[in-house]
């Protein structure tokens, strides 16, 4: 469930940004572009509105820095630089069943359950998209699409046998 919370947030953000790119591409003047863009950006803030509406929620205490520092300590790693297995480095968490410390490094095949493997693969795919596409290329996608979409439309018309005058040559 905690994995799902992160996944839903990431999915929502990605979809909002994708839609905003297409909305921006739709309009032919600056005023309409900016106005519609602002209207759409509000959708991304829906979760903040709902969060603000949960006034008396006592679980909000968990989001105080001092509180989540105590809870969300990072105890494990997937780094290959950390020696794993029974003779590897140990974390500070104790397995309640065996009374032994957990190994610090989590290995994919040995230490993860099936669902955990699936979740890890999903996370890695997201990471791949984030690093390779989202982080640097999303703002520039609008510039690319501004030219490529009309070009693709032109190609389609030509394939259909229609001829369209290029802009400015009427």
């Amino acid at each position: 469930m905690s994995f799902l919370c992160g996944f839903l947030q990431a999915l929502m953000v990605l979809q909002c940004e994708l839609v905003s790119i297409f909305v921006v591409l739709c309009w032919g003047n600056i005023m309409d572009t900016v106005m519609n863009f602002i209207a759409l950006a509000i959708i991304a803030d829906f979760d903040d509105f709902v969060f603000g509406a949960l006034r008396c929620e006592e679980f909000k205490q968990l989001l105080d820095v001092e509180n989540y520092k105590q809870i969300l300590t990072i105890s494990f790693t997937t780094s290959k630089n950390c020696p794993g297995g029974p003779n590897g480095e140990l974390s500070d968490l104790v397995d309640e069943e065996t009374g032994k410390f957990f190994p610090m490094r989590i290995r994919f095949w040995e230490d993860r359950s099936f669902t955990n493997k699936v979740a890890f693969v999903v996370y890695k795919i997201w990471r791949l998209i984030y690093v390779n596409i989202y982080f640097y290329y999303f703002p520039f996608a609008v510039l690319l699409l501004t030219f490529s979409l009309p070009y693709m439309g032109l190609m389609k018309h030509e394939d259909d046998g229609d001829f369209i005058d290029p802009p400015g040559e009427e």
Binding site: M1, S2, C5, G6, F7, L8, Q9, L11, M12, V13, Q15, E17, L18, V19, S20, V23, C26, G28, I30, T33, V34, F37, L40, A41, F46, D47, D48, V50, F51, L54, E57, E58, F59, K60, Q61, L63, N67, Y68, K69, I71, T73, I74, F76, T77, S79, N81, M104, A119, Y123, Y130, F135, P139, F140, V142, L143, T146, L149, P150, P166, P167
Partner: protein
């Protein structure tokens, strides 16, 4: 553990940073009860579970006279019942709060996704021609770029937070 060039600082021993938003709240709600007990101040008697265990173990009712032992046992049963009731009440309350937050997350996500999907649909079914209309205006191009860049900067933090939560959940 050694780190090579470009691999960043060691994160083990540090902590995960979460934002103040609904999804982070949902994430924090799923933490183990014992961790939540350590930091929450919701009137929950943190020692109640220990008291119940102590009373259950019967540690008080050894090495005394039989009459005294009966009194202690009777008192213990009363204490145990009241503590167990208190504990069960609090646990149920927390369970309901968690459910409430999860429902909020579900509804918010569904409404956000529905709206964005509807907009997508409208663009592709009714405004598809406007997408393929060539625009030559440089100011328009600048406005488009600025708009998407600003939204990108605003939402990037949120996406990173979501991914960090995913990673933490997978590794812990």
């Amino acid at each position: 553990m050694k780190r090579g060039y470009g691999e960043g600082e060691i994160r083990v021993g540090g902590y995960l940073d979460v934002r103040e938003d609904l999804y982070s709240l949902g994430f924090m709600c799923q933490m183990k009860e014992q961790y939540v007990d350590e930091v929450m101040e919701d009137g929950f008697d943190r020692d109640a579970a220990k008291k119940v265990e102590f009373v259950r173990s019967g540690a008080r009712s050894t090495a005394v006279t039989p009459k005294r032992q009966m009194v202690i046992q009777f008192e213990d049963e009363k204490i145990q019942k009241s503590l167990e009731y208190e504990l069960a009440k609090k646990i149920e309350l927390r369970r309901q709060r968690r459910l409430n937050i999860n429902l909020h997350i579900g509804l918010t996500f569904i409404s956000q996704m529905s709206l964005t999907t509807l907009i997508f649909g409208e663009i592709f079914y009714t405004n598809i021609d406007s997408l393929s209309t060539p625009r030559e205006s440089l100011p328009l191009l600048m406005a488009r770029f600025i708009c998407t860049s600003i939204l990108h900067m605003a939402l990037q933090d949120e996406l990173t937070s979501g991914m960090n939560m995913m990673k933490y959940a997978v590794n812990h």
